[in-house]
Structure formats: structure tokens, C-alpha cells
Symmetry: C3
Subunit: 129 residues, 3 copies
């Protein structure tokens, strides 16, 4: 159920995009302990001027490979989030050559009543999940 929204600079091939999404999903499954079918991903590809990703004065360099990810999820522990950040950067480096300095993540949490996966039902409430 985590829903991941990716903002990228346009230019990746379809294959590179798929590799990026696969690598990200593997991090979600591992860090959050969700089933493999718990995959909800949205990608926006931007002209360069549409995506500004600075570094909060941390001295982190960005390139056009930058991956900005907004995660919407039910409550996760601090440990799960830290594990997710680490796994995501590891996976993106290994599978896609994205530098860890180019991965920025922001998480927003919601609750069981806040998800419907189809058929107009809230599956976390009905007992289906």
C-alpha cells in the first residue's frame, strides 16, 4: 500500500524507468514487510526547470539523475523508514547507477480507513487485508 510518487528529469529510457521502479519496489517490500503485490507507483518526468532539488545546505551534489520520491503509507516505525532510505539508495545504485547523493525521500503517513484498493471498499477495514 505504500504509494510512491517519483519526480524525475525526463530522459530515461522505458527500460531504465522499469529498472528504477523495480529496484524501488524491492526496497519497499524489504523495509516495510509488505507483499510483493503491494505496488503502487507513479512517475512524473519533468523538463529541467520543473524540478528543483537543492540540499538543505548539506553539501550534497545533485545531477540530472536525481530521484525525488514521495511516499504515502500507513504508519511505519522510525527503524522501517531508516531501513527504507538505506535500501532504496543501495538498490538504485546497484540496479540503475543512481548515486546515493541523488536520492531524496519524503514520507507522509495515513491510516487504515484511508485506503481503497478497488471495488469501493476500504480493505484494511473490511478484513480483506
Amino acid at each position: 500500500m505504500p504509494l510512491l510518487r517519483f519526480d524525475l528529469v525526463a530522459g530515461r529510457s522505458p527500460e531504465a524507468l522499469t529498472a528504477l521502479l523495480d529496484a524501488s519496489h524491492a526496497a519497499v517490500v524489504d523495509a516495510f514487510g509488505v507483499p510483493g503485490g503491494d505496488r503502487y507507483q507513479v512517475v512524473h518526468q519533468h523538463a529541467p526547470g520543473e524540478l528543483v532539488v537543492h540540499d538543505t545546505d548539506l553539501g550534497i551534489e545533485r545531477t540530472d539523475d536525481v530521484v525525488l520520491v514521495q511516499v504515502t503509507s500507513r504508519r511505519r516505525t522510525r527503524e522501517q523508514k531508516e531501513r527504507f532510505y538505506a535500501l532504496l539508495t543501495d538498490n538504485l545504485k546497484r540496479s540503475c547507477g543512481v548515486q546515493p547523493s541523488d536520492v531524496v525521500v519524503s514520507v507522509v503517513e495515513n491510516s487504515d480507513a484511508d485506503w481503497s484498493f478497488g471495488h469501493g471498499r476500504a480493505q484494511f477495514l473490511t478484513g480483506e487485508l
Copy 2:
């Protein structure tokens, strides 16, 4: 004030898109009891590889008609949300032929201070709303 962000596979006609947004707005008004002018909708149309909507292993089939909706709203009850999911799928089926299996919703809540509808004011705080 709910703000709805729709992610769709590109290909709908402008008329089909309008019908989809109208049908969705009717569900918002009915389920959340907001005025008709409380309409804030954003649509993103994606290349197929930019939108991945699986099913959390629930056995739900998706097609290219899939409608992924992220709702940002002030606090709503569980009953309001469940009503919204049901009405949204009903309306989209009836008005647009979208199957209930193709409708996925995620909600995030915020508060009165979190909205400004124009003129730089927080209208839920000023008493204008």
C-alpha cells in the same frame, strides 16, 4: 476543499476526462457534505510505464482505465471515507464505464490552518468558511 489528484493512463478524450472529474466531484459533495464550489482537481496523464497499480495480492484486475486518486482533506470520519469510496466507484461506473476494480484511492488528512483558497488568507481560520 478536498484536493483530488488523479493519475491516469493517457488516452481519454477531453470529454471523457470532464465526465470523470464531474462524477468524482459528485461523490465528494455527497460523501463529505461540502458545497458544490468546493472543487479542486488535478489530473496527470501518464505513459503506460509511468503508472504501476497492482492489487496488494487481493486478486483485483486492472486495465488501462485505472483511476488512482489521492485525496487531501480536512479530517473525515471513517463512515464518510467508506461512503466516498462506494459513491466514487458507483459514479465512475455509471458515468464513465470505469470498472470498480479499476478505482484506487488514498486519503491524507490535514487541518484548518492548512488551507488557503486565495488572497493569502487561511479561510478556515478567518471565519470566511
Copy 3:
């Protein structure tokens, strides 16, 4: 760290877009007291039918200049938010000629564990920020 997602009607020049983002960032820095490098901005440019911004029956006129901003931020006070709304509309009017009636903002809050600015670390937790 606030992350700002802008939804606009397509048609602005690259220069106009940069001016809009600069003016918005100045409002963030001033209202939230964050460093200048705390800049994370995403722009979506839409076909007219993809962006519906009514007025909650407040009697506010919109034009194609409309600027819809979703802010994701760590906790901010009511005063900080009200200051942000006012500064944002002031800055956009002065720098870009956007009318205050065309600026709509929605905020969602999260926490220290919800941000990673690179290298797979949660910099608000590690003490780096």
C-alpha cells in the same frame, strides 16, 4: 525541507517559471525560517481540462494564471502558515503579476523521521540537520 508541488496551466515561459519558483522559495525561507538551500520544488504544467480550481463558494475568480501549491513540511505553527500564505501571494504578485485570487495552498505535515535528503540517511535523526 518543505517540498512544494506546483500545479499550473501550461504556457509560462521558462523564465516566468523560474521567477515563480524563486518568489515562492523566498516566501518559504522567510515564513518558515529555513536555510536558503532548503529548496525542493516540483512543477506540473497541465492542459486546461486537467486542472480544476474552484473557490469553495467564496466568490474568488480564477484565471489561467492560477497557482495551486501543495506543501509537505515538518510541523509548522498556525502563525508560520498564515505568514507563508500572505508572503507567497505578495511575492507572486510583485515578481510574477499573479493575482492573490489565483493562489491556492494546501499543507500536509510530517515528522523528523520522514525525510532523507540523500545518501540513504534521515538527516533530521542523525544530527546532520
